[in-house]
Structures are given as C-alpha cells and as structure tokens.
Amino acid sequence: MELDDSKDEIAFRDEARRWLEENVPKNALPSGDTQEGFALHVEWEKKLFAARWSVVSWPKAYGGREASLVEWLIFEEEYYRAAAPQRVTQNGIFLLAPTLFEFGTEAQRQKLLPRMSSAEDLWCQGWSEPNAGSDLAGLKSIASRDEARGGFVLSGQKTWCTRGAFCNKLFGLFRSDPTAERHKGLTYLMVDLGAPGVTVRPVDRLDGDAGFAEVFFDDVFVPDDGVLGTVHQGWSVAMATTGSERGLTLRSPGRFVATAARLVALCKRLGHRGHSVDARLRDRVVQAYLDAEAYRVYTLQTVTKVTSGAAIGAESSLNKIFWSEMDVRLHELALELLGVRAELVEGAPDAIDGGAWMKGFQFALAGPIYAGTNEIQRNVVAERVLGLPRAAAK
C-alpha cells in the first residue's frame, strides 16, 4: 500500500496546478447550459486541448497524455480545486469515448476522437425517451434498415438530452428489431444533429437554464459508420458506457472535496461576520466534509482495483448512491448556513457567491435521479453485489 503521490505523480500535479492557476478564468464563466455560456465554455475546452489537458488519460495520438488513472484523479482534484469551468464536453469524453475505445472500429476512433478532444464535435446523450427513463429497455425510437443506402433510418423522440440544444452530435440507443423483446434488438448509433429530419427543441431545467433538449427524428438517415458495435447488440454496448458513467469517470472525488472545502470556508466566513454558526450546523458541516474525504479514499481503493485489472461492475452503484446523496447534503448545509439569503439567486444584489449555492443545490438534486435513479442503484447493489433474489414479479 502506497498512499502518497509518487515522484512522477507529484510532478504531474505540480504541472497541472501551475497551468490551471495561470489559465483558469478569474471570473466564473456564465452557465454552460445557456447559449452564450456554452460558446465561452467551448472556447475554454479548446484552450484545454491546446495545452493537452482536455483528455489527459487518452493516447497521445488523440490529444491525450497517456496519464494513468491515478494521474487522471490528480488532474480532476486540481481542476475542481482551481474552480475551473464545468466541462461541456463531458458527455462525449466520459460516456461515448470509453465505448468507442472498447467497441469502435479503428476508422471510427481516428475519425471521431480527435474531433471530440479538440471540442470540434460536441456530443449529447440520447438515452431517455418520454416513457423510458430508468427503464431503458422500454425504448421505442426506431432505426429501420435501409440496405440500399447502407445505413439506418431513424424515427422517434429522445428527451432530457443534456445540453442537446447546443451540441452538433448525438449518440443513443434505437430499436432496430421491433420484434425482439425489451433489451434485445437495440442498436447503438451516432447521429449528426445537422442531418435532414432532425428537430431539436430546448427544454429548460428547473433552474431556468436550457440544460435539456428534446430531439425528434423524422426519417433521419445514419450511414453504417454511425453504428457503434454490433447491430442489435446496443444494449450490451450501452451498459459498458453506463458502468463508466456511474463509476469513476464522471464523478471524480475532486469535485466533492472542493465543494466541502468551500462549505467549510463559507462556515468560517459567516461565523466571522458575526452571524454565529451554531454548533449543530458546524458538526453537520464536519460530517459532510468527512463524507467527501471518505469518498475520496474509497475511490482511491477502487482505482487501484481497476488498475490491477479488476472489473468494478455493479459496485459502481455504491459510488453513485454515495456521491449523489452527499452532494445534496453539502448544498443543503450551505443553504442552512446562508439563512435568509439562501433563496437569493443570480441577479440579487445580496446573493452570496452570486447565488451559486442555490444553483448548485438544484443541480445536485438531479444526482439521485439521472444515470439510473438511486432506487434502481440500490436494487443493483442488493441483487448483483449482495446476491439477493429479484422480486417474483419481474
């Protein structure tokens, strides 16, 4: 067991920290889930790419540094510590790319990955449909085979596509064999949102930003090189991505450690302004801080497992439950600390930190819902980790 950074890791951390200190915008960018904010975020992504920080763990050929998983964690820690901008490329980099690495053809990788790491292509995820949220097997959007043109024709609707209103590409699951049952007969497709027949309708999130889109497909043609993995095998292909979404890649501990540190700072700041922070709140702040630290240590253990070649599989559901509920607690506590100013949002002259905590709270509330609700995750833990039986009904 070796828990300190190695020499190389220290050097990597120093380099990342230095670059971030020099380059992170001094004033926070406007939300990346608005039109103008998105554009500024893409600019930032291009800057990251230019300095080879956009995809540190990828092969050099695609713009990466071939960093280890531990180094990736270190980069994430530094990234959030520096309060660097939200990654509007994350759905591509963290969800689609791992699947491309595992199931893509060499041609697909060479064509798509460099454009992804350089933020030329901006990808959104087309998983959910109006009547299939946590139950992906209930998808209804159709991909009909068009042998003549060599591809598929899509019809149907996807919903809750994060930042879909600003992206130019979509990946998702479509029903290619309507006679097959539930999990079967789905194909994983990559679609150009500029293709004829695509309509994108922005849907505002509860915090008011256009964070979502509905995407309608009206006989949209996707050529064969838009198929990821084997036709009709989209479910297994997607599950690999889902595992990676729920696991390490999307929610690195650095984010929560940074939030916890900001919460402690807020607690001290309010305490010093003469608004006494009562001991009860202080204790809960400590508990939340310790939760973030526990999540960090837990993840270190997982990273070592993965690095040693073990599959994390269903255990990643434990991660998802833990970080998503912790994130809500961290923000709830901040709001309690803010007292009468908790409800103030961006634009209110008296809002503390520009209303960031209330905004963050609303964002955190999505955690227990998306990427499989925590109810589903608890079922997964019980059934696949602990081996409890499925209900007779299902």
Partner: protein
C-alpha cells in the same frame, strides 16, 4: 379537550378553496412568475370579499372579529396553490399587530385594510427583506425599537431575486418620521415579538398546504407513470418515500393548528408552540419537495413541469421567518430552562 375545527371554520376553508380555484387556476401561477408585478388586485379583491383579509380585524373597524384559529385553514389553502399575494403579511401579521395598538393611526389603517382598499406588508430587521414591498400600499417597518407605517410610494426599493419566481423580495430604504410612528420602546418590542410568532404560524400553515399539494400531485403521478411494465407507485421504494413524506405532513398539521389555538387564546406557551409549528412545517415541506422530485424523476426536473413552482416556494418559505433549526433553538432555550418563552 376537543381537537377539531367547527363547521363554520371548515366552511370558510371550503369557500376559500372554491374561490382560489376560480381566481387562481394553475395556469395563473406561471403568469405570477413572469409578469412584472406578479400579483393581482383582482384576486386580492376576491379574497377580501370573502373575508380572508379582514378576518382578524375587529368588528368595530369593519372586520369579522375572528381569531387565528378561524384563519389558519384559509392560509393553508393559500399555501396549497402557492398564492403570490401577501395574504399572510397583511391578514395574519400586520392586522393583528395593528389590533394590539391603541392609537388612532393603527385603527384607521385597520379599517382601510378591512375594506380591501389597502394592502400591507411587513419588514423587521431580523428578516432583512420585505416581501411584496412593490405591491403593498403600506409597509409596517421596524427600526430598532420603533415601528412605523410607511406609504408604499415613499420607500426606495432594491429588488432581491428569489429562487421562487413567485416571491418578490426587496431591500427597503426608508425614513422614519414622527408622523409615521406606530409604536416605540417596550410596546414596539412586544408587538414585534408577537408578530414574529404570528408570522411563524402563517408561514407554517402555508407550508403545510404546499406540502399537501406536492404529495397529492406526486401520488397521482405515481399511479399513472409506468416503468418496467408497472405503475411506479407499486414499487415499495416509491411507496415508502411517499409514506414518509405523508407522515411528516400529517404530524406537522396538528402542530400548526395547535399553535393557532394557542395564539388565539393567548396561551402562555404560544411562542413555543409557534416555533414548534414552523420547525415541523418547514421540515415537512422540504421532505415533501424532495420526495416529489425523486418520484417524478427527470420530468420533475424540467422547467415546463409545474412541480418546481411549488418546490421552490417550499424552500423559500421554509427558510423565511426562521428555518427549522432557528425555531428548534428557540424551543431549546425553553426546554433547558435558560429562557421562559
């Protein structure tokens, strides 16, 4: 001992609910978020005609001479629909505050509120911001140990945007004058303290209404939304979420009614009862909001769906006039004998 509302009180609730259904259908709530003023004098008039505004005004000033216990269910109904007008501020805080003062100015103001001509709001230093200050004709404002009644047009306002778009909060700059003074010294302190208890009660009642609304909406959704081939309401996890939230609200409601009774009767423990009510109603509304969003899933997370209108109001009101922790701390002082509340 008899813990139940009488027929007249229940009828009053029914009337308020009926009128609100008519003058404030769900579609209006979004308008209240987006319009400049966000409030309607028409709706105010309808509620005033029903007697909601003048309920606590003495008959001598043209009111109904009712008590907080008669009004509490009406406030719950206002909360249930997330009514944006300052009914709690006017009818449940300012009116009884004025009623406790013996001077002519207070009596005159009461009469003008009773007939629906004047809308009032209230600003104490502990709260920092004043709700509906842009809409009120008169603001009852505290500075140190003086209490003043200030005309709406003579204050300078700075808007403070709330997460609840139905709320309109303002920082208020104003100048006291001897002509505007309602009370000072010991009397002012006494009525301010009493008004804080009434504010706790009124917001607690609104929160119970909000919580009930969110739970009902969510139960209805869980019955029709299907996943894995079944209504999601048939899953034990969803059932238990809803059972827990329902329990919170069911336990909070009688605490609110008891506080109304204690304030109406001037019971010695009324301040503690008001704090107990506000603490529990705040927690219940937050719990109901959390449960509602989790059960709705992504659709509840969209701006198009109405759920967030109610959730955000719950968050805002749960924190206003002292959050649960604040009110429990007040109770602690009594329970541990460091203070006789």
């Amino acid at each position: 001992m008899r813990f139940a509302f009488d027929d007249e009180q229940l009828l009053f609730r029914k009337n308020v609910r009926d009128v609100l259904t008519r003058v404030f259908p769900a579609t209006q709530l979004r308008q209240a978020w987006t319009s400049e003023i966000g409030r309607s004098r028409e709706r105010w008039k309808a509620l005033a005609e029903l007697g909601v505004v003048s309920a606590l005004v003495p008959e001598a000033q043209g009111g109904l001479g009712m008590t907080e216990l008669d009004l509490v269910l009406a406030l719950e109904e206002c909360g249930r629909v997330a009514l944006p007008e300052p009914i709690s501020e006017t009818a449940a805080i300012v009116v009884p505050l004025l009623r406790e003062l013996s001077n002519e100015a207070a009596r005159g103001l009461l009469a003008r509120i009773a007939c629906g001509a004047v809308i009032a709001t209230v600003g104490f230093e502990s709260e920092r911001y004043v709700e509906s200050a842009h809409f009120a004709d008169v603001l009852v404002l505290q500075k140190g140990d003086e209490l003043h009644a200030i005309e709406g047009k003579s204050v300078r306002l700075q808007a403070q945007r709330s997460v609840d778009g139905g709320r309109r909060l303002f920082s208020v700059e104003w100048s006291p004058a001897s002509a505007t003074c309602l009370a000072r010294g010991e009397e002012a302190r006494r009525v301010v303290a009493a008004a804080r208890d009434r504010a706790s009660l009124a917001l607690a009642a609104e929160l119970v209404g909000l919580a009930r609304c969110m739970i009902e909406t969510t139960v209805a959704y869980a019955k029709v939304r299907t996943q894995f081939g079944q209504p999601i309401g048939s899953f034990q996890a969803v059932k238990h979420h809803l059972a827990n939230a329902h329990l919170e609200v069911e336990v909070a409601a009688p605490m609110v009614y008891r506080a109304a009774h204690s304030i109406a009767h001037g019971t010695a423990a009324r301040s503690m009862h008001a704090s107990m009510a506000k603490a529990r109603a705040s927690d219940a509304a937050n719990a109901a909001a959390r449960c509602a969003l989790q059960v709705h899933g992504a659709i509840g997370y969209s701006f198009e769906h109405d759920l967030h209108l109610f959730m955000k109001r719950a968050w805002a009101l749960a924190g206003a006039w002292g959050d649960a922790a604040h009110h429990r701390a007040r109770c602690a002082d009594v329970i541990f004998g460091t203070n006789d509340l």
